[in-house]
């Protein structure tokens, strides 16, 4: 049953990625690819978190999968990798955590009750730092294929054995 729930989330991750792809005016021929990549990235994140990984590292793994897939599909579909990768990682942006951070910040700026102040402060800082680290991991994970191969353009980068 849990596995079904995890798999069901893939559908929604992919759909969210496609929605953002349309908002960013990605060419129509790339939409199925982005659906697939969004679903794969989201599945990696949900799966690693299911086995007890922190949400930050879960997002890093998800974004890394998206990064490698974006290089593969960039050759297949003749598109630059960021065009495929950016819409695919957007469903992994931690919206709920950011929302809680904003709510926490306004509580901190409002009337101060000394009993709860420390708890609210701790929660807000925790959510805020998580949001920041997740965003960094998303951008870093997408860039990993380029970073480890030290190439400037995906055109030079082919996962193929040299003769």
């Amino acid at each position: 049953m849990e596995w079904l729930l995890l798999l069901e989330k893939c559908i929604w991750f992919g759909l969210a990625a496609t929605g953002f792809a349309v908002l960013f005016n990605v060419p129509v021929k790339n939409l199925p690819t982005i659906y697939l990549m969004g679903a794969a990235g989201g599945f990696t994140k949900v799966l690693t978190m299911h086995f007890g990984t922190n949400i930050v590292f879960g997002s890093l793994y998800g974004a890394t999968v998206v990064g490698f897939l974006s290089i593969y599909f960039a050759h297949k579909r003749h598109s630059p990798p960021p065009v495929l990768a950016i819409p695919s990682v957007i469903p992994m942006i931690p919206g709920i955590l950011a929302y809680r951070m904003i709510i926490g910040l306004t509580k901190l700026a409002g009337e101060i009750q000394p009993e709860t102040y420390n708890q609210v402060l701790a929660e807000t800082v925790n959510y805020g730092l998580k949001v920041m680290f997740i965003l960094m991991c998303l951008a870093g994970g997408v860039a990993i294929p380029m970073l480890i191969t030290r190439k400037e353009s995906a055109k030079d980068l082919k996962f193929r054995r040299r003769n």
Partner: protein, 258 residues
Amino acid sequence: MTPESIKNTEIKELGATLLHIGALLLSAGASTGRTRNTITRISDSFGYNTEFVINNRTLLLTLSDENNEYFFNSLKRSSPHGVNFTLLSGISHLSWEIVEDKLTINQINEQLAKLTALPHYERWIVLILVGLAGSSFCRVNGGEALDMLAVFIATFAGLFVRQEATRLRFNLYMCIYFGAFTASLIAGGAVKFGMGYTHEQAFATSVLFLIPGVPLINTFSDMIEGNLQNAIVRGMNGLIISFAIGLGLLTSMFIYQF
């Protein structure tokens, strides 16, 4: 025409075209590194030395030939940011065509005119698919069927209001505020009067279609590549957008007394 004046015209035309390409890339949502690579790739194929400064919305370019006899030096401001990945991938194709097929400057300009004239998606397709994306966000964050419906309607209306505000030339951050306020007002109403069938997730995820995904991801890719100044400027832009979203949410929360 003398050979000197031909060379002089060529360097001027190439410079203007390069600045145009750079400005298009910046406004379409390319990272600093991508803009720099593309411009260098094209000017290298023409055999000129290029030096340039890239700011968030400005380009400063100097071209010179190998003997330092001819110069071009100019500055261009790009139009406000509107993410357009069709243009981005089109220009990427074009830059490789220029290198491989040795296109002339006139051919490049023709191709660019074609690329900028390419249509966007129909408005109702964007509204529906972004609405679906919003309800997918809601589901991923643990919402249920009714929450998803509420978020779909909220996102649809919010994006519509945002597009209209952009058309009326409001300030960018005001547009975002209006969008966030409309979406959270609708979703908040559903939560407040939903008699327990709709939950907090619907309210929180109703504004997620506004998240500045491209500015934020570009911030960190610029940071990784060491373009720190641009990274800071773009990060600040993303932060103000997030703040505008937060303000919209807070207005609704104040109205509904959550």
